[in-house]
Amino acid sequence: MKLRKTLLGTAACAMLAFPTYNAVSEELPACDGCANSMTIVSWGGAYSASQNNAYHKPYMELTGINVVNDESSAEAVAKLRAMNEANNITWDLVDVVAADAIRLCDEGLAEVIDPDTDLAAAPDGTPASEDFGEMLVSECYIPQIVYSTTFGYRTNVAEWGGKTPTDICAVFDTENFPGKRSLEKRPINNVEWALLCDGVPKDEVYDVLATPEGVDRALAKLDTIKSDVIWWSAGAETPQLLADGEIVMGSTYNGRLFSVIEEQKQPVAMLWDAQVFDLDGWIVPAGLPEDRKKRVMHYLRFATDTQRLADQAKYISYGPARQSSAPLVGKHATLGIDMAPHMPTDPNNAKNTFLYNYEFWADYRDDIDAKFQAWLAK
């Protein structure tokens, strides 16, 4: 009897040491009847690498399953719809921005997820729904990170005569800050910034934008710098243009600017003023077979827990979406610099911020986009 117990104990130890498909650690329960492989869709580049290091690798080590990476997030919405119509869903988990998640949820293409039963609670026992708080902008969406769209500017522009931009309206001030700037080729964020600098108080921006006159006003403000703007459609363009000296300032995602400034050591600085927060996170495609869905939910509970979200900030300068992760954010894995001051959510950087208004843009995006594109084409 005693021997039997010892044998069983040894077997259990062996299982821990040599993980098999059902191997478990203390924090990760076994996954019964789960698929042995999953396809995760994300954005590629540095962002996918950070997820790979923080989530996929540890999960693969713990479970021994295989994670296949697909870098199709940019076309995820259209592809998911096509897959759904063809009734052949090849993706298990998809990384999308919040606006796309809301769209997918509206279209019935994403599974509803209950944070409190499907996700891990914070270490102190706070339920996930409270830990994520207002970041849960859609019932289908589990956010991972907060990123921001903000401006970077060159620090060695001779024409500026030693002045440096301190607030967002420097973008519209071509007198004091001459030179080309880059803006994203879409109305979102640009029209808000335009109205702010046209004297609209921050809390009235969306009320003004909901009227046709408000849109005209924003476009009129943008018109004042139209000839100085290079329009980008991929996040990598602004960093490249800044590094080439093609532009003196430009908007892009804060993580891209971080790599220009800290990794490539370019003469560029961040203008955090009026940065717009947005979220990036997971959705589970609707209609997955039972075994694959179980595997995804198992992975999701692991990859969105407090520690894992904090781990991701070691590899990229985006803020974790859980409140409980913030104190755990440490140093950059290779550069060794403290990451907290580079987070968009850091109090020093977040003195004046905007949160992407999802409801507003879901309603008005088509309308304002048509006007914006018509204005752009003229």
Partner: protein
């Protein structure tokens, strides 16, 4: 003897007595069937991967089944409502809406419907999303008041006009949108000036495609001429030079143009260095139409050169020699003798380049800035970003139609038989 007797024995038969006609027809049918079997894989492939998807996409441009399918009772009840009456629909309509939405919320289709109707009227998306959350908690009776209480837009006449206008299975809405028109309660009209974009983009797409085709021809014709007339060892080298970019990735070539053309790029730096332009006068050659024309001309050039070359290769040099020996100048010999013979190549190359150009999307997106983008960029936006596939399909159908019309005109003027690929 037997030859004379033949007519008397009735129709000519084969050895086994079957009439020759029948036997021949049988053999021919078998031949045809065999030929059909041989091409069957290709035929099926084309049908499944080309004809069916295109037909499906064309149907999407008018398909509106989502509205009557999601709101069957409401659309039926709305049939008797007069949108011009100035009154909200009656209580039975609201009751029908309640019944429909209960089912829709259960199946999670109400938000899809909201997205669909939001293309026509901003605000419908949140109207359906927020009403969907409240509809299950509604009490029986007094639906009009409860709905207006749930969202004030249910008390707005325009909301109901839009639902009524789009309650059919088929809608012209996407096509109207694609030509910058709209149907309002006052009837058909063009959209306000600041929202018109598609007709303008169609025009620009065709105009720029023609400019690109002409510049490909101007640059490609001399190259093709050299290719066809130089001694083999020189022309082979030249051929490799023509084909080399053809084998290079499109994105690489486009990015290379970015490096060359940008304001602090290679060309501008060189011009500043030799003093042709000063520091402030650096040329803007990218992120505008010039960028699109230069990059696309380069990318499409082989499609012009190759058909030209294969036609020129077949032109015998003796004709030009004969013309010259009869006293023609170099120019006359070229223009009267050589050029007309190369027209089929020009036709083939021009059609090929033009068709490829109007569908181009990635190069204009990368180097076109704002005034160098094509209609295909908007189609791509509606397919992948706004998910308005109906509008994307309508734009695509119009583009297809315009190309077919141009083809027809081309056939009338030049003649489609006068196109040769070699």
């Amino acid at each position: 003897m037997s030859v004379q007797a033949a007519p008397d024995r009735g129709p000519i038969t084969t050895q086994d007595g079957i009439p020759l006609k029948v036997s021949l027809a049988r053999a021919l049918r078998r031949e045809k069937l065999r030929a059909l079997l041989l091409i069957a894989p290709l035929l099926l492939f084309v049908v499944f991967s080309f004809v069916i998807p295109i037909a499906d996409m064309m149907l999407r441009s008018v398909d509106n089944a989502l509205v009557p399918e999601t709101l069957p009772r409401t659309t039926e009840a709305l049939a008797t409502w007069d949108p011009e009456s100035g009154n909200l629909p009656d209580e039975p309509v609201f009751a029908a809406l309640h019944a429909d939405l209960l089912v829709a919320v259960e199946e999670k289709t109400h938000t899809r419907l909201g997205t669909r109707l939001n293309y026509e009227n901003s605000g419908m998306s949140s109207l359906f999303r927020s009403t969907g959350r409240k509809v299950e908690r509604m009490d029986e009776g007094q639906y009009t008041a409860q709905f207006i209480d749930a969202h004030k837009d249910w008390g707005n006449l325009e909301t109901w006009r839009v639902i009524k206008r789009f309650s059919g299975n088929i809608t012209p809405g996407y096509f109207l949108n694609a030509v910058d028109a709209e149907r309002t309660s006052e009837g058909l009209r063009m959209k306000p000036d600041n929202e018109r974009i598609y007709l303008f983009l169609f025009g620009r797409t065709f105009y720029l495609s023609m400019v690109i085709t002409v510049s490909c021809l101007l640059l490609g014709y001399p190259v093709a001429y050299l290719l066809a007339n130089l001694p083999l060892r020189h022309s082979n080298l030249l051929m490799i030079l023509v084909l080399l970019p053809f084998w290079t990735s499109l994105l690489v070539r486009t990015s290379a143009w970015k490096v060359l053309l940008q304001q602090y790029g290679v060309i501008n730096d060189f011009l500043v260095f030799i003093g042709v332009v000063d520091e402030a006068g650096r040329l803007v050659m990218i992120n505008n139409q010039t960028g699109t024309i230069i990059a696309m001309t380069h990318i499409l050039l082989p499609f012009m050169i190759l058909p030209l070359y294969s036609v020129m290769k077949t032109i015998s040099p003796s004709y030009v020699r004969a013309a010259k020996s009869l006293g023609a100048t170099d120019w006359t010999a070229f223009w009267k003798i050589y050029f007309p013979q190369s027209v089929p190549g020009i036709g083939a190359g021009a059609v090929l380049v033009f068709i490829l150009a109007i569908g181009y999307y990635i190069t204009p997106e990368l180097v076109g800035g704002t005034d160098g983008v094509f209609i295909s960029n908007r189609i791509a936006y509606h397919v992948s970003s706004s998910l308005n596939w109906g509008l994307a399909a309508a734009l695509g159908v119009i583009l297809l139609g315009a190309v077919l019309i141009l083809f027809y005109v081309y056939d009338k003027i030049v003649g489609i038989d006068n196109v040769k690929l070699g």
